[in-house]
């Protein structure tokens, strides 16, 4: 049956393409005097060839899943690799990925995964339980500088191993019982553990390839280059032209390749939103990564608008480097936070239905609604600042806001610059850097205040709070509070009831907000333009795209 329908499809396709050729020919005749370009747009070509043109925002910093940290990286890596568990594209509930099934022990601490027999790497090697054990060993090598190492800390002894208290990796709770059986022992029953497995920091990586191009814990080797990279995802890396495009092609060795409809995905790094929107209008992109705020109103008025605004599990915030002398006093940091008029900011500047944020965790994450004493209160902000030794902002050193080059971030920074000037009478400078440079400056602590966004890796308040533990690679503020670490790492995971757990998160969140190493600004919405040909691309609060489900409908 399948073959027949395929042939039917083919003949139909042929007819369509002949029709299209005729059309193109006619169009070319008509246009001959005016222009001699290609009259077919990317989208038209893509709909026929099964190529998805994806606006990826910015050039990925790395495609190494154990080094990368960011949404643009996520979009590419999730096409190239796959974890034990996938998520449903609508509900985000776990569903089988590399593991075809799993058992959870009664106490919730031991997970036994059954890995598919037909799970293979893109070079044809079979994918075994040992690959996962080796990958997680690599993820926990301190020399690798994995900012997401703490994602593995729920696993028994992983943290001790990472911190050097334990040198024997066989004591860490990840064991290959046989080729196809992986047993994972956790410190505590961790309700979100299955979700973690769909995050790239826990993806398997190909040992032979990595070792061919350098040491296992060496950063920036050539193993992630096109032609070298071996993955286990639905697509393989075919071309990577820096700042131009990343082309991935369907992986024939993928276990579920029969159900993958797309042939190719082209990731285009366009960090100028205006350019991206114009490219979309010109039919050069199927999906954009964002939309300039000023265009939202116009797109709202179109019937069958390609614009999609959906809730997004993420917080836009400013990091404060607490090691900077004049930002050490929590009162100053609170003053800064209180002097931001978030309501006006989201209504007049970002305009995309964002919700003003007064806490780190987005409201409603797993039934958690954080309470916060933070509000817009210029009066109190001024008082706090003067208590801290700067009455009316006098002698407050000029402070710099760092952001990665992007029109939206620039606008927010300008608005906040003026709010701080007006409310606190302090002078602010604005500095922009390209994404990779910006990430490096932030990690190295070479900034004063920096724009940041945190997009949930899994749906749990833990994800928004555990990055601020002392050693957390994504903390980057220099803030460290041992009591906070205890709450997040020891007390919360050990609690039995959900309600109790949320109370502990609330306590931790309050500690964080009292000290204010971060200034929450708003809860994201994802705003994208999506071509009507793109099907099965449902919105979910994590804005994860499951490329293997997506197909393109050719309209002509």
């Amino acid at each position: 049956m399948k073959e027949i329908s395929l042939i039917l499809n083919l003949s139909e396709l042929l007819k369509k393409s002949i029709n299209l050729l005729k059309l193109v020919f006619l169009a070319q005749l008509l246009l001959l005097s005016a222009s001699c370009g290609d009259s077919q747009t990317n989208v038209e070509k893509g709909n026929i060839n099964g190529t998805l043109y994806w606006g990826n925002g910015t050039e990925p910093q790395s495609l190494d899943p154990q080094i990368a940290t960011g949404v643009p990286e996520h979009h590419v890596i999730s096409a190239l690799m796959e974890g034990l568990v996938l998520k449903d594209r609508k509900t985000l509930l776990p569903k089988p990925g590399v593991a075809e099934s799993w058992d959870i022990s009664d106490d919730g601490r031991v997970y036994t995964f059954k890995i598919r027999d037909n799970a293979r790497w893109s070079n044809g090697d079979s994918l075994t339980a040992n690959d996962f054990v080796w990958s997680w060993w690599r993820a926990l090598q301190p020399a690798l500088g994995n900012l997401y190492a703490y994602m593995l800390f729920p696993i028994e002894n992983a943290q001790e191993y990472y911190e050097g208290a334990l040198t024997d990796f066989s004591k860490v709770g990840a064991k290959a019982l046989d080729e196809n059986t992986l047993q994972v022992t956790l410190n505590h029953p961790t309700p979100y553990f299955l979700q973690l497995l769909d995050h790239y920091s826990l993806f398997p990586v190909h040992k032979e390839t990595i070792e061919k191009f350098g040491a296992a814990d060496e950063r920036g080797t050539r193993w992630t280059y096109a032609g070298n990279l071996v993955g286990n995802g639905a697509f393989t890396l075919d071309e990577w032209e820096i700042n131009r495009k990343i082309l991935v092609k369907k992986n024939k060795n993928y276990w579920d390749s029969d159900n993958v409809d797309l042939n190719e995905i082209v990731f285009l790094p366009i960090d100028n939103m205006v350019t991206e929107e114009r490219m979309f209008r010109a039919g050069q992109l199927h999906v954009t990564s964002s939309l300039p705020a000023d265009k939202i109103a116009a797109y709202k008025e179109i019937d069958d608008s390609p614009m999609r605004i959906s809730p997004y599990l993420g917080t836009y915030f400013y990091r404060i480097n607490v090691d900077v002398p004049h930002l050490q006093d929590p009162r100053i940091r609170r003053a800064l936070a209180m002097a931001i008029d978030r309501v006006n900011l989201v209504e007049k500047i970002t305009k995309g239905g964002q919700i003003p944020a007064y806490a780190m965790t987005p409201p409603g994450t797993m039934g958690y609604f954080p309470e916060s004493s933070l509000q817009y209160d210029p009066e109190r902000a001024r008082k706090l600042l003067s208590d801290a030794g700067y009455p009316n902002g006098k002698d407050f050193p000029i402070t710099e806001i760092l952001y990665n080059t992007n029109e939206g971030h620039r606008k927010i920074a300008i608005a906040i610059q003026e709010m701080w000037k007006k409310n606190l009478n302090i002078d602010i400078q604005i500095l922009n850097q390209e994404w990779k440079v910006y990430l490096d400056s932030e990690s190295a602590g070479e900034y004063q205040i920096s724009r940041a966004g945190w997009i949930g890796d899994y749906v749990d308040p833990n994800n928004f709070l555990d990055m601020f533990i002392c050693e957390g690679g994504n903390n980057r503020t220099g803030w460290c509070n041992e009591e906070y670490d205890d709450l997040i790492l020891k007390i919360a995971p050990a609690t039995k009831s959900h309600k109790e757990r949320l109370e502990i998160f609330q306590k931790a969140e309050t500690m964080l907000l009292d000290d204010m190493p971060v200034i929450p600004i708003y809860t994201y919405t994802s705003i994208q333009l999506i071509d009507s040909a793109v099907k099965n691309f449902d919105s979910n609060i994590m804005n994860h795209a499951y490329y293997k489900d997506i197909y393109l409908e050719s309209l002509n």
């Binding site: 205006v274 300039p292 000023d294 265009k295 109103a297 116009a298 008029d341 006006n344 900011l345 007049k348 500047i349 080059t405 029109e407 620039r410 606008k411 920074a413 300008i414 608005a415 610059q417 003026e418 000037k421 007006k422 400078q429 604005i430 500095l431 922009n432 850097q433």
Partner: protein
């Protein structure tokens, strides 16, 4: 005695008249050129406005009013407001200060270095010329962006430095133009005549060579000023030039382009300000070239 006095004073008067005749002739010719005079007046007005901006600007250039956001021109805001609710008229006036200053300061730097370098190289020729022009070639080969970024890294972000940096890059073409002009002039008869009456080389360069290069130099200058203004916008856009909330015409236009469909006035008005300046400069430059051409004065 009276007669003699009379004659001497006549001689003095006529010699005075003669010594100023080049510039007076030039001025007379320029004042006959209506476009050039119009350009001059517009330019002087713009400079006056820029100088007086802090006094006459209707609002503060950083004063935001998020509540109103971007509004079209109205009685309160003659040229509308940008998305932060900042008055566009004020921002264009302040932007003009930066743009005009960059234009004139950077171009003057380029003029001074370029003319002296080119004149010396062209006049002396030989090995000195070869060495000087190879230096120019080497600087040409140096990617301009890297040069500016290096300067910024070493000296920090400073608006005055930006002017100098742009000027220090723009003089190269000027030097080449002047040099080739000088080389064609230095073998002409009037230079030989100057030698023969015993003038020193420096006097010849100053009095005879440089004034004869003035035509192409003025034309090139009128081209340099706008390109310098745009260069400043480009650098500021990359975070190397002036920083928000300050602005310049180039930056205003840059951001205006992004929202030209939604808020066209954010593009049109700064664009008009810049074009007005460029037109004036071009007309004035044309007029000056015609007026100052020493060959024309001999007719």
């Amino acid at each position: 005695m009276d007669k003699l006095n009379n004659i001497t004073s006549q001689v003095e008067a006529s010699s005075e008249l003669k010594s100023s005749s080049l510039w007076r002739d030039a001025w007379i010719r320029l004042s006959k050129n209506r476009l050039a005079i119009a350009g001059l007046i517009v330019l002087l007005t713009l400079i006056m406005i820029s100088l007086l901006t802090p006094i006459i600007a209707p609002y503060g250039y950083e004063e935001q009013n998020l509540a109103i956001g971007a509004t079209a021109p109205s009685e309160e805001h003659l040229l509308g407001t940008d998305i932060f609710g900042r008055d566009m008229l004020t921002r264009i006036m302040y932007g003009g200060r930066v743009s005009l200053m960059v234009g004139f300061v950077a171009t003057s730097v380029a003029l001074v270095i370029g003319i002296s370098w080119g004149a010396i190289a062209g006049f002396f020729g030989g090995r000195l010329d070869a060495v000087m022009m190879r230096i120019v070639d080497a600087l040409y080969a140096l990617p301009f962006m890297i040069f500016i970024i290096l300067l910024m890294v070493v000296f920090g972000r400073n608006i005055l430095l930006l002017f100098l940096a742009i000027g220090a890059v723009e003089w190269l073409t000027m030097a080449r133009i002047v040099r080739s002009q000088v080389m064609s002039i230095r073998n002409q008869e009037f230079i030989e005549a100057a030698y023969s009456i015993g003038l020193t080389r420096w006097v010849i360069i100053k009095k005879h060579i440089i004034p004869n290069t003035i035509g192409p130099v003025i034309v090139y200058t009128t081209l340099t000023i706008p390109s310098v203004m745009l260069l400043e916008a480009f650098l500021s856009f990359l975070g190397l030039g002036i920083q928000p909330p300050q602005s310049s015409w180039g930056l205003l236009i840059n951001y205006g382009v992004e929202t030209m469909e939604e808020y066209p006035w954010l593009l049109i008005f700064p664009g008009m300000a810049l074009s007005l300046t460029l037109f004036s400069l071009n007309f004035l430059g044309d007029g000056l070239r015609d007026a100052l051409d020493p060959r024309a004065s001999k007719d």
